[in-house]
Symmetry: C2
Subunit: 389 residues, 2 copies
């Protein structure tokens, strides 16, 4: 880890200052001042003890005459696995629970209302191995599996909503597996679940070997703190996935992810996609990535001509929030566990919608018409040739 | 101008070096080395003489067994207006022609195959005034107006394709105006035109006072050098506009724009949207912005509570290219005229499509179904409430 860049933000802050730093922040993040929010001393101490990063930023909105502000504290947690992947499944899961519980406790002390974890946060991201055992044994019921039970208790304790991405085993439908986000309400009950709509077939992300495209549409969950939705990992490359959550009224869309820095990886796109989604859909987004290396017991190949190996490369963390105007906060580190908090006024969504009119100028009728034509097997693209006339 | 930041890239290059710069470039631009392409001494001298910036970068692709490389040189030109806006319309237009001709000549010497200009490149961006006269007099025929004639001659001379965004007067349909991109082929003839699909109603961009939503669909133009399309300015906020060009087979999509840095401006989104479009649609994009200040004869207000004034703020230039994998090159300056050249292998598009499978995993049938429901007046969004069960 000592050779890894700590973060994009660290490079910038270690080298820039004064007007250069202000201009960089204005052009890159969208504002000169990141509006850092002060945290409790006890939170800073607890984070130091448990060796995780903690930071908080504000996204205020304008005062309105007819609505009070709707301030929500939203947290994202990125973390590495807790014990080696050759340990028993139950031990691996419990070790992650133990580590993450400390981070949730700090979030609870800070009054965080909603927390989202990275994709499949309770297990190593083992699909690169293409092995079914023991990894499928991490799957559990969305409604009453050990992970949901673990979070339900903490949800009720802290009146906290959780977005929990897990490998789901659907016993009521022939034992099949899904990549599922479970939404646990502030009372501790399960509000509902959403299954990943777009499944990757890219490099080491052989996920289509493990589960199929989701069948839950684009649900928005009306929580006590706002309307939220989940665009799981690979769905961030799919603009229509983001769009449908917006059309269903989402105010915050989480993108729990597992993505790597390695050659041909996604790191340079990480600032682009969740941020573009916030802009075009006028809602808050949160992009959450795993962190660290995960070494597996057996070697595997990556279909890139290179020798077999036992790890997929660095999950680069860098989780961050974007406001509906496209302004983002600095991200968490590339290498450390972290809790990032955003103090956001949800009134901002409608203010931006009113200002920019992206929905009104969307011309959805034209696109429904055009896209339905594209679906026809004999679709003839609209191509203009020079000598056509 | 002397108080303006020259460019985002200048801030970075003036302050970072060694591994920090490499890591910055890798995480931000997508590669450690920007693959700058050497230009002719005569081009550099001509650019110096005429006081414009010039730069070139390569986007290579992998060698294939069954297709030869398809290398295309694509240029974008950003420029300020050439004489004050109170000069006669014809004089203003001619002065821009004269200035831009020098830039085209250099592009011709460099063997550039396709050039795209900024939005409404042959006139000041006067819609902030809300005045109809004299600005509507800049409108002309797409097929044989003075601007098309000016470019046709240069197109034939240099075997160059032009993407020319103009204010179009449609005399065959009741004299109405359109915001139109004209595609002029390497032979000098007009291949076709595309009219801006999404019209802004934001701040000083009162464009809906001047012209209506385009009626030309999403044409892709099969030029000698590749299939190209144009997403005009405000359309860059609309992901479906980008998407339809991709579904129609575009290999390069140009985004000629006019957008400002002022408070609540777009500058921090400039790196996001055209780049996201390249990623999600697996094609090259070029984002081209006007540059400089444009002062108008009469004062106008900006509906922001501030006093009347005569200019809209800085058009920040910063034009750039993105490859289908999301890697981008450094942008042109924020304040100077410039010619940016990209030496791109169009084979890269299909290579990225094959690798990432974004089109295959798109689930267009699901979205056509969902979006058509959204169009219903009594649409009920998919919202899940806690006590629903």
């Amino acid at each position: 880890m000592e050779n890894e860049t700590q973060s994009f933000e660290a490079i910038v802050n270690n080298n820039l200052s004064g007007r250069d730093l202000e201009e960089f922040n204005r052009i890159h993040f969208g504002r000169k001042d990141n509006l850092e929010v002060k945290l409790k001393d006890s939170s800073l101490a607890a984070a130091k003890d448990a060796d995780f990063e903690i930071a908080a930023y504000a996204f205020p909105a304008k005062k309105e005459e007819t609505r009070p502000p709707r301030i929500v504290k939203v947290g994202v947690i990125q973390h590495s696995i807790a014990v080696p992947t050759d340990r028993p499944v139950i031990e691996q899961k419990k070790a992650i629970f133990e580590k993450v519980r400390k981070m949730i406790d700090v979030a609870g002390q800070e009054g965080v209302n909603i927390i989202c974890f990275q994709e499949l946060w309770n297990m190593p991201f083992a699909f690169c191995t293409r092995e079914k055992q023991p990894w499928c044994e991490f799957a559990e019921s969305a409604e009453d599996g050990p992970t949901t039970r673990f979070l339900s208790e903490l949800a009720a304790k802290y009146a906290m909503v959780f977005v929990s991405s897990i490998l789901e085993r659907d016993e009521n439908h022939s034992d099949i597996l899904w990549n599922t986000a479970v939404i646990i309400s502030d009372t501790g009950s399960v509000i509902g679940k959403h299954r990943k709509n777009h499944i990757p077939r890219v490099g080491d992300f052989n996920e289509s070997n493990y589960y199929m495209e989701g069948n839950t549409g684009h649900p928005v969950f009306a929580t006590r703190y706002g309307k939220i939705a989940v665009n799981i990992c690979f769905g961030r490359h799919h603009v229509l996935n983001w769009m449908m959550f917006g059309l269903n009224g989402a105010e915050i869309v989480f993108n729990p992810s597992a993505t790597i820095a390695a050659e041909a990886g996604s790191e340079y796109m990480w600032n682009i996609e969740a941020r573009n989604a916030a802009i075009t859909n006028c809602y808050y987004t949160a992009a959450i990535n795993r962190v660290g290396w995960e070494e597996f017991p057996n070697e595997f190949t990556s279909a890139d001509g290179k020798p077999a190996h036992k790890d997929i490369g660095l999950f680069y963390g860098s989780s961050y929030f974007t406001a509906p105007d496209g302004v983002r906060c600095p991200g968490l580190s590339r290498t450390r566990d972290g809790l990032l908090i955003s103090v956001m006024d949800l009134n901002k969504n409608r203010q931006i919608k009113d200002r920019r009119c992206y929905y009104m100028t969307q011309r959805l009728d034209m696109y429904v018409n055009s896209l339905s034509k594209v679906l026809e097997l004999d679709y003839k693209p609209q191509v203009v040739y020079e000598n056509e006339k």
